[in-house]
Subunit: 171 residues, 2 copies
Amino acid sequence: MTTRWLTPEEQRAWRAYIAASLLLEDAIDRQLQQDAGMPHLYYSILSVLSESPERRLRMTDLAERLKITRSRLTYAVTRLEKDGMLRRAACADDRRGSVAALTDAGFAVLERSAPGHVETVRGCLFDRLSEEQVGQLEEISTAIARGLEGDGARPAPDDVPWRRRSSPACS
Amino acid sequence: MTTRWLTPEEQRAWRAYIAASLLLEDAIDRQLQQDAGMPHLYYSILSVLSESPERRLRMTDLAERLKITRSRLTYAVTRLEKDGMLRRAACADDRRGSVAALTDAGFAVLERSAPGHVETVRGCLFDRLSEEQVGQLEEISTAIARGLEGDGARPAPDDVPWRRRSSPACS
DNA sequence: GGGGCTTGGTTCAAGTTTGAAACAAACCTA
DNA sequence: TAGGTTTGTTTCAAACTTGAACCAAGCCCC
């Protein structure tokens, strides 16, 4: 089967998406680094913890929720623990496991910086989208995530054919 | 003015978006690392070059197109040059400037890996979206990017008020 | 035509991410 | 219940990113 290249519409969508996601993550990261002294991911860790029962969660569950590797999480948690934002504790029912528990200091940071964060998310994203588009964004994102959840296996690349073009496209 | 928290719809959209973008970038990165030996950004650099007149572009233009910092680009280009994918050259009309020029080897890598890349982008993204959603994604992305283009200034945070909540939300 | 500002690019240190390997506890299963 | 596999987490080195500082070369303007 010869490669199905992207249509012009798909090309445009893909490139616009890449640009937007880079710019957006950048803006969010910069704001949180400024106001909360940590990148977005780290803030998200605290945020997820703050909404969990007892404000604690097992490492693996946390990684799963945030869609990041355990290794990445370990590093982040180590830093956040060093900063007093959370505390590691042994897991009661599984001696292999460990849990991350939000500290009061961590919760306070979250409380203090949440408004600025929300304001930024609004300013960068929601203020620029119609109500309808917000719904569309959710559906699109959910569709993407659903397909990628679980493992990072890419879909059926049994054969990887190709042919010549004057310029290999697609970002 | 008291903080306008995200509505439930916005919350859902935001979280779905974050998850999707993480998963998607991960999948794309993994595939390209496998098949082209470089992360997505690096591949994009080659790709943009391949479509430019004479397959060369000034550093600043390249950074601008890719929405990345010059510093990040410098690092990437250094690596790609070391790998023979491109070559740095002095800029003719501005002695401060330098250009990155795609080599034949770089073009060949692009040609060889483009089909697999497109297949992955399809599998992860476009195969899961309706034609309509592709259009929506483009519009949404464009709207976001338009607002964030140029500088990373966040929109009017004159005052950063806040109030207590049982759990500061918004990832 | 010599300061002083801006622009294009790199450098450097500190921080983060990646992926593979290491470990240890838990879970089989013969 | 010993031996082997799986699961939860960390560790380590190499790669990448960030942001501030730096160095030129252009630009401006008196």
